[in-house]
C-alpha cells in the first residue's frame, strides 16, 4: 500500500491515505482486541488500538492494499501478546494472575459447551478458529495474518474445525 508519491506534499498525502486506512481497520481491530483483552482491563483497549495504529503508521508502505484488515489484525495480535506477556511478567512476583494458563476466550464465552471445547484445543487452533468465526477472516485473510500460504491456511483451518467438532462432542460427555 501507499505509493503516495514524491515531493513536498508526500507527508500530507501519506497522512490522508493513512487516515483512510485507520478509519477502515480501527473498528475491526478494536473488536478483535476487545474479544481477547482479558485479563487486561478494558481501559487499556484504546491504548492498544493506538499502539496498533502506530505500527501501521510506521509500516504504512508494507500494508497490502487488498488485505488491510487481516494485516492489521496480525499487528494487533502481536501487540496484544506483548501487553499480556508484560502484565503477567509484572505480576509474577506478586500473585498469579487470573487467566495465566487460560485464554481470554475462556472468560468471555457464555456457551459452556463451546467454552469447554475451545479450552480443550491448542492455542493455535483456538486462535485460528475464532479469527475465522468471530473476526470473519477466511483462508486468504488468515494467510495474510499468519504470513503463510493460502493453501496452508485452508488446511490448518479445516483441521482446527475438525478438532473443534470432535471436542464439542467430547465435552458433551462426562
Amino acid at each position: 500500500m501507499g505509493d503516495v508519491g514524491q515531493g513536498g506534499d508526500v507527508s500530507h498525502r501519506r497522512e490522508q491515505a493513512f487516515r483512510a486506512l485507520a478509519q477502515k481497520v480501527t473498528p475491526e481491530v478494536g473488536l478483535y482486541l476487545r474479544r481477547r483483552l482479558y485479563p487486561l482491563p478494558a481501559s487499556d483497549l484504546d491504548d492498544l488500538v493506538e499502539e496498533v495504529l502506530i505500527v501501521l503508521w510506521r509500516r504504512f508502505d508494507d500494508v497490502p492494499d487488498d488485505a488491510e484488515v487481516a494485516w492489521s489484525i496480525g499487528v494487533a495480535r502481536n501487540v496484544l501478546r506483548n501487553a499480556q506477556r508484560s502484565a503477567r511478567r509484572a505480576s509474577a512476583h506478586v500473585a498469579r494472575p487470573v487467566g495465566a494458563d487460560a485464554s481470554a476466550e475462556d472468560h468471555v464465552v457464555a456457551d459452556e459447551t463451546v467454552r469447554a471445547a475451545l479450552a480443550a484445543l491448542s492455542d493455535e487452533d483456538r486462535e485460528l478458529l475464532t479469527l475465522h468465526a468471530w473476526d470473519g477472516l477466511g483462508p486468504r485473510e488468515l494467510a495474510v495474518t499468519y504470513r503463510i500460504t493460502e493453501n496452508a491456511a485452508a488446511v490448518r483451518l479445516s483441521r482446527a474445525r475438525a478438532r473443534f467438532e470432535a471436542q464439542m462432542a467430547e465435552v458433551a460427555t462426562w
Partner: protein
C-alpha cells in the same frame, strides 16, 4: 445449529461495535509519531490480577410492587443465605451411604448462563423457574422416557446437597442420579456413577444397527418425553453409526426465551439406539414478567446492598474505564472494568427459582486481586434485600 454456528453465535462481541473515545485525538497522536521504529511507546500499565470467583447463594420472598404502570410486577426480596443452594428435598430412608465418584454435575451448575444478552432495551423478561412439584413423579417420568425400571432412592452424601441416587435398571445402564438444586431438577443416568457398583459391560463392536438419523430421532424422543422445554437444534457427535458399541452423543440445548442456556439434555446411545447414559434438567418456566433494566453503571451502585446476597467480600468503587487508573483505591474497594449481561437462576425463600438478568463484572481490588462480581440488572425499586432478618428498601 452446527458446532461451528454455535461457535459463531458465542462471539462475545457479536452485536457490538467499537469506536475509540476520541478517534481524532488518537490519530493526531499517531501521526505525530516518527516513521522510525518505536519499540516502547505504550506506557507500562500492567494490572496485577489474581482472583477469586464469588459464589452466590440467595433466598428471596415475593411481595407485590405498587409502583409503575401496567400489570403489577412481583417485587423480589433477596436475602443472604447459607452456603447450600439446594431447595428442600424429600427425605428418604437411607440404608447405604453412597459416594458419588464422578457425578458429572460439575459442569451443570444450577444456573442458566445465556450468552451475552442485550440490555439496551428498557426492560427484559424474567421468568419463574419451577422444578417439577414431585421428585418421585419427576424420576418416574425420567425412567419412563429412558425405558428403565426404577428402584429405591438413596441419599447422596457428596455434593450437591439434597441429591438422591435412584437405582434404575435398563438395557445399557444401571443407575440414575437425581438432584434438586436451585429450582431445577438435574438428572444423570449412566453406569458406574457410584463407587462399588458394577458398570454396564462393554459391548463388542460389530456391524449392524440404526442409522445416524434414526439414532438422533431416538434421542429426541427421549428428550421430548423427559421435558416440555424449548430446545434448540441438536448437536450430534461421537462415533459412526452402524457400529454397535460406538456411541453417538446427541446434545439438545435448552433455550430460555430463545437464548442458549448452559443447560442441555444429552443422550448417548449405542448403534442399536440403546441408552448408554444421559443427563439433563427438568424444570418449567412461568409466564414472563418484564422488569425495567438499569445500566451496568447504575447496577453496580447497588452491588454493596447485594454484597451479602452474592457473598461478595469487597466494596465496589464503580464501574468505568474512566476511573483514574493511578488513583489509590480505598481498603477493600473494587474497581470494575468490564461487564457481561446474562441470565441466571436465583432462588427465592420459597425455593422458587427466578431467571433474572444479571451483570457480571470483572475488576480488581486495591490488593490487585482480580474479582468477578455480580449485580442484578433490574430496577432496584423492585428489589427488597433481607440480610439476617433485616429488610431494607
Amino acid at each position: 445449529m452446527t458446532s461451528f454456528e454455535r461457535l459463531v453465535a458465542s462471539d462475545p462481541s457479536r452485536d457490538d461495535a467499537y469506536a475509540p473515545r476520541d478517534f481524532d485525538a488518537m490519530l493526531a497522536r499517531v501521526i505525530a509519531q516518527p516513521y522510525a521504529r518505536v519499540t516502547s511507546w505504550r506506557a507500562f500499565k500492567a494490572r496485577v490480577l489474581t482472583g477469586f470467583t464469588t459464589s452466590c447463594a440467595v433466598m428471596a420472598a415475593a411481595t407485590y410492587a405498587l409502583a409503575g404502570a401496567g400489570p403489577p410486577l412481583v417485587r423480589l426480596t433477596f436475602a443472604a443465605a447459607p452456603a447450600s443452594m439446594a431447595a428442600p428435598a424429600p427425605t428418604y430412608a437411607t440404608s447405604q451411604k453412597v459416594t458419588v465418584t464422578g457425578s458429572g454435575f460439575a459442569s451443570a451448575a444450577p444456573t442458566l448462563l445465556a450468552r451475552r444478552i442485550s440490555t439496551t432495551v428498557p426492560s427484559l423478561a424474567t421468568f419463574t423457574v419451577m422444578a417439577p412439584p414431585s421428585e418421585r413423579d419427576a424420576v418416574a417420568t425420567l425412567a419412563s422416557a429412558l425405558g428403565v425400571t426404577l428402584g429405591a432412592p438413596r441419599a447422596i452424601i457428596v455434593a450437591p446437597p439434597g441429591a438422591h441416587e435412584w437405582t434404575a435398571r435398563g438395557e445399557g445402564a444401571s443407575e440414575a442420579f437425581f438432584a434438586r438444586v436451585g429450582g431445577v431438577d438435574l438428572w444423570l443416568y449412566g453406569p458406574g456413577l457410584s463407587a462399588g457398583l458394577p458398570s454396564a459391560p462393554p459391548e463388542a463392536t460389530s456391524r449392524g444397527g440404526l442409522s445416524k438419523v434414526e439414532i438422533v430421532q431416538r434421542a429426541l424422543e427421549i428428550v421430548h418425553a423427559v421435558g416440555t422445554l424449548d430446545t434448540g437444534v441438536p448437536v450430534v457427535g461421537g462415533g459412526a453409526a452402524f457400529v454397535r458399541g460406538t456411541p453417538t452423543i446427541v446434545v439438545v440445548p435448552i433455550l430460555i426465551d430463545g437464548h442458549w442456556s448452559n443447560l442441555s439434555d444429552t443422550v448417548m446411545l449405542d448403534g442399536r439406539g440403546r441408552v448408554i447414559s444421559a443427563r439433563g434438567a427438568m424444570f418449567s418456566l412461568g409466564p414472563p414478567a418484564s422488569y425495567p433494566l438499569i445500566s451496568p453503571r447504575a447496577a453496580v451502585s447497588h452491588a454493596s446492598e447485594q454484597a451479602a446476597i452474592f457473598a461478595h467480600a469487597v466494596t465496589p468503587l464503580g464501574w468505568s474505564g474512566t476511573e483514574p487508573s493511578g488513583a489509590a483505591l480505598p481498603t477493600g474497594a473494587l474497581r470494575l472494568s468490564q461487564s457481561i449481561a446474562q441470565y441466571r437462576i436465583l432462588v427465592d425463600a420459597h425455593g422458587v427459582g427466578h431467571a433474572l438478568p444479571i451483570y457480571q463484572y470483572v475488576g480488581q481490588t486495591n490488593g490487585s486481586r482480580a474479582v468477578v462480581l455480580d449485580a442484578l440488572a433490574i430496577n432496584p425499586r423492585y428489589l427488597v434485600y433481607e440480610v439476617h432478618g433485616t429488610s431494607t428498601r
